[in-house]
């Protein structure tokens, strides 16, 4: 019962270094662990309304994201349920119709997931490149582990893959570091 219909979304812009740490974290999660039935992993990028359907149809939502709390770079934070800020203030850009707005809209429609948790990391640098900063790279393993723990709290024990895979964004970031592009 507890393992029914859990959605994990990685949010962020992979072209802006630590901004994309959430996407990189769920990529690692999928490549290190076997994702069981009833759990869906999505690379949400910086989209908002595109996630309406999957979020509406899940019971429990876990989001991995870059979060600016003012804490030290690379700090991991967890914000859950009522503590997730509702961001409906002066809007000048479409991008502000983000995840928190979507959750508020779903609350109004009485279709919000029963449980929502954001596992976040405080980003250090947002330069236009793929590779994470040392601070974020150092925290990535711990962030993945937090996602595993969060799932365990919901009653889902992940099994490690016998052999780790390498995802698209990790491979591209490694190529960039070797100077093979740009």
């Amino acid at each position: 019962m507890a393992s029914k219909n859990i959605l994990i979304i990685g949010m962020g812009n992979v072209l802006m270094q630590d901004e994309g740490v959430g996407v990189r974290a769920v990529e690692e999660l999928e490549n290190r662990y076997i994702i069981p039935q009833g759990v869906t992993v999505i690379d949400g990028g910086t989209t908002g309304m595109g996630l309406y359907d999957p979020i509406r149809n899940c019971d429990q939502l876990i989001v991995a994201d870059a979060i600016n709390t003012g804490d030290a770079y690379g700090t991991l934070v967890r914000i859950a349920n009522d503590d997730i800020p509702a961001f409906f203030q002066t809007k000048l850009s479409n991008h502000q119709l983000g995840l928190s707005d979507l959750l508020a809209l779903l609350t109004l429609k009485a279709e919000v997931p029963r449980h929502v948790a954001i596992i976040g990391m405080v980003p250090h640098s947002l330069e236009n490149k793929l590779g994470l900063t040392n601070e974020a790279a150092a925290g990535l393993d711990a962030m993945v582990k937090r996602l595993v723990d969060e799932l365990a709290d919901l009653g889902v024990q992940l099994e490690e893959r016998s052999e780790q895979l390498i995802g698209h964004w990790r491979r591209e970031a490694e190529l960039e570091a070797q100077g093979l592009c740009a």
């Binding site: 949010m11 962020g12 812009n13 992979v14 072209l15 802006m16 901004e19 999505i42 690379d43 949400g44 990028g45 910086t46 989209t47 908002g48 309304m49 595109g50 996630l51 309406y52 359907d53 994201d65 870059a66 979060i67 600016n68 709390t69 003012g70 914000i79 800020p85 509702a86 961001f87 409906f88 203030q89 002066t90 809007k91 000048l92 850009s93 479409n94 991008h95 502000q96 119709l97 983000g98 995840l99 928190s100 707005d101 508020a104 809209l105 609350t107 109004l108 429609k109 009485a110 954001i118 976040g120 980003p123 947002l126 236009n128 490149k129 793929l130 093979l180 592009c181 740009a182």
Partner: protein, 567 residues
């Protein structure tokens, strides 16, 4: 007395747009539009394989993912002079048109309606009177008294819980709010219904694009969809019928609800048909190609000067030199080195940051020009160029919108020139949405018919020469003319520049000191209460601004957003 107002969301979220205005005697006398984020994202593409550029460009923006993917492959195809199979053109067209419909619906109901609709006032509405009003406007099946009552109850619970959520920021009770409670309730009902409707468009994108929210099916030379009867991943008649089903649902909502809500609400704000006109030059590019070479289009392109439809100069093909040679970007008032207006193929982005200088540099956005003129892009430009080109759909829906506006307001003398305004941009977006629906039907039928002839081609393989080649790809995106400019050498990207719609509209003063479309549109706007500059938001929002093309970070450190200073 002069007051300086700064509306600056950057204090809350990295990047984005800042607007400064000076207000004299209750009206805007000076305006500055400033992009607050360094945008060098294209540099990531240098040295990469041009065939993969689209998978990066679709990460520029969280709203326009498909838009940047399709424009990128068009740029590389243009450099290679590569034809695209008809099926691939049509599949791309269906994806981008469905996306445009979704984007327009969301902009009106979920992003900008709260500038005009007083949500709290909807609690005072009579649901029966609301239903009666709604049924007089259209035959939409969710307009009955039970529906209106249910929405009002839900809203009451929501507001009563003390957490206004999506409505917390509204300027409720602001003197510029003019709708009667019943119209407010009607708008809230459609706001909630539109959430489910916009999702139908997302489904079309997901079915054809292979994956959501980032599509996977785009390729330089076509698309990777295979067409046939067998395996579950291929595009077969069952999937096409599913797409058709979603098109029909979108059609019903857009034509019976969105297209009547906008002029019906606009009728209560007729003063805003005389406020918010921009630079009066309008640019759009042709789109929805229906041949393999990109010479025949469903949507016309061109340039109109001084709001004179007779001045139309058409842009006819993907390779039209009139567009290619006319675009330049100036960084005289932007935080980059150099003052000259440069063509995107030789564009430079070397940062040179100063503080915000009213008379000097004040933005990370450059100022694009078309043959030296500032130009507004977006639905208003699309509609005006469409009407000037004699496009049937644009003409029909413009007339229909004007008729509803006249009938609801009881004012038969509203001139066509009223479209050059804040409310005109919203009307134009609804009109364009109607044209998009008809285009979607048309493209779907063409695809089915073409497959019916036995043509299942979707891809022509690209071959890259050693020497340097250059290309431009463009797209009539939801916010207006988007162009990607690429220089390729030996199969690798040498330079890449994206001139995005909001650059055209949000750009600062140019090399000649001419103000940009946002800045021009804010001049003479009334401001009743400097602490609550609702009027400024109305006009800027009418463009559907989308500046950073990048950042969305959750920020728990919320700071002051509107600053007011007496000068």
């Amino acid at each position: 007395m002069t007051t300086r107002i700064t509306v600056d969301p950057i204090t809350r979220i990295e990047g984005h747009l800042r607007i400064d205005v000076e207000v004299d005697d209750g009206k805007v006398s000076k305006a500055w539009s400033s992009g607050q984020m360094w945008r060098g994202i294209e540099k990531i593409l240098v040295g990469r394989d041009p065939r993969e550029a689209w998978s990066y460009t679709q990460r520029f923006c969280g709203v326009c993912t498909t838009v940047h993917a399709i424009t990128s492959v068009r740029a590389v195809e243009n450099a290679l002079n590569l034809e695209v199979p008809l099926n691939a053109q049509l599949i791309r067209n269906i994806i981008q048109t469905a996306h445009a419909i979704q984007d327009h619906i969301v902009h009106f109901y979920h992003l900008s309606a709260v500038d005009w609709v007083d949500v709290v006032s909807a609690l005072d509405a009579d649901p029966v009177a609301t239903a009666k009003l709604a049924e007089s406007l259209s035959d939409w099946h969710l307009n009955g008294p039970h529906e209106m009552k249910a929405v009002q109850e839900r809203l009451k619970t929501f507001v009563g819980s003390g957490q206004l959520g999506p409505f917390a920021s509204g300027y409720w009770g602001h003197p510029a709010m003019k709708l009667p409670p019943e119209v407010n309730l009607l708008a809230v009902a459609h706001y909630l219904q539109a959430l489910d409707i916009q999702n139908h468009a997302n489904k079309i994108v997901a079915i054809l694009g292979g994956k959501s929210p980032h599509i996977q099916n785009v390729a330089v030379g076509g698309v990777s969809n295979s067409i046939g009867h067998d395996a579950p991943s291929v595009l077969n008649i069952e999937r096409l019928m599913l797409v058709k089903n979603f098109i029909d649902k979108l059609d019903h909502f857009v034509k019976s609800t969105y297209m009547s809500d906008v002029p019906a609400i606009g009728a209560f704000y007729l003063d805003w048909a005389g406020i918010g006109g921009g630079v009066n030059n309008y640019l759009t590019v042709p789109d929805c190609p229906v041949d393999t070479k990109g010479t025949e289009f469903m949507l016309p392109g061109g340039f109109i000067e001084n709001a004179d439809l007779a001045s139309l100069k058409p842009i006819k093909t993907f390779d039209d030199a009139y567009f290619r040679d006319g675009v330049a970007e100036s960084s005289k008032h932007a935080w980059y080195e150099g003052d000259d207006a440069l063509h995107p193929w030789v564009g430079e982005t070397e940062p040179q940051y100063t503080d915000f200088q009213d008379e000097g540099q004040y933005s990370w956005v450059k100022a694009p020009t078309f043959y030296g003129k500032r130009a507004e892009v977006g639905p208003l430009a699309d509609v005006l160029v469409g009407v000037a080109s004699g496009h049937d759909g644009y003409t029909k829906y413009l007339n229909q919108t004007m008729d509803i506006l006249k009938s609801v307001s009881g004012n038969p003398d509203i001139p066509l020139a009223a479209v050059h305004s804040t409310i005109g941009r919203h009307a134009a977006r609804a009109i364009r949405c109607g044209v998009m629906i008809d285009t979607l039907h048309d493209q779907w039928q063409r695809l089915v018919d073409n497959i019916g002839t036995g043509d299942v081609d979707t891809f022509n393989s690209p071959v890259f020469p050693k020497e340097e080649i250059k290309g431009v790809g463009f797209h009539q995106a939801p916010r207006g003319a988007l162009s990607h400019w690429v220089v390729i050498e030996n199969g690798k990207i040498k330079n890449y520049q994206a001139v995005v719609p909001s650059t055209w509209n949000a750009g600062p003063r140019d090399a000649d000191g001419q103000i940009g479309p946002y800045e021009a549109s804010l001049m003479d706007n009334p401001v009743a209460d400097p602490e609550k500059p609702l009027e400024i938001l109305r006009t800027v929002h009418s463009f559907d601004p989308c500046i950073a093309c990048a950042i969305h970070m959750v920020d728990t450190e919320q700071k002051e957003i509107v600053k007011v200073k007496a000068l």
